[in-house]
Symmetry: C2
Subunit: 109 residues, 2 copies
């Protein structure tokens, strides 16, 4: 299993709307996330900074292919077009990232 | 089960030391966390901002008592004295908080 922590900023003027669309995300997106092997996926917000925690429970050697399939899932690009307009990515994110991967500095089962 | 997302800042000059002491935390602290019912506890770092994700798997009606017991566990105050000196809490944290609780805006099992 792989764990991920990621961060991004949220535009202050869309906080209510971002929360509203995440109360019940589109069924196509929910299904695509599930089929990708992502589990226990949470997004937290404080002072305009968001933190995502998620786990990948699929086969290790299928991770890249499943993430590629997730990005090509029905309505995913449409979903990202909406949500990306609400987010402010970190200047320090790595090439190819939108949400910036964070470094795990501690873990206890 | 209860999930928590929390955030705090880390003093830039102690990043290496903070990571070092968290590679293998004191056995007393590890034991106390386990006995409290906290599971799946991760801390992530990016650009001086830390996020903690953890789950409480103990009985719901024992949560407050177990967190109180955790704060009184052997060496816990000593551990917090060390780590608090390395952290910068958010001005917007709630009364009584050190790490600031974040709002969960999304969760998918």
């Amino acid at each position: 299993m792989r764990r991920f922590g990621q961060t991004i900023r949220l535009r202050p003027e869309v906080v209510a709307e971002y929360k509203r669309i995440h109360v019940k995300i589109w069924p196509e997106i929910e299904d695509a996330i599930r089929e990708s092997g992502i589990r226990n996926y949470s997004i937290y917000l404080k002072d305009g900074i968001m933190f995502a925690y998620m786990e990948y429970h699929g086969p290790d050697d299928e991770f890249e292919a499943r993430m590629e399939a997730l990005s090509n899932a029905p309505r995913m690009q449409e979903w990202w077009e909406i949500t990306k307009a609400m987010q402010i990515p970190l200047d320090t994110r790595a090439d190819g990232e939108w949400w910036a991967d964070m470094e795990e500095v501690f873990h206890q089962e």
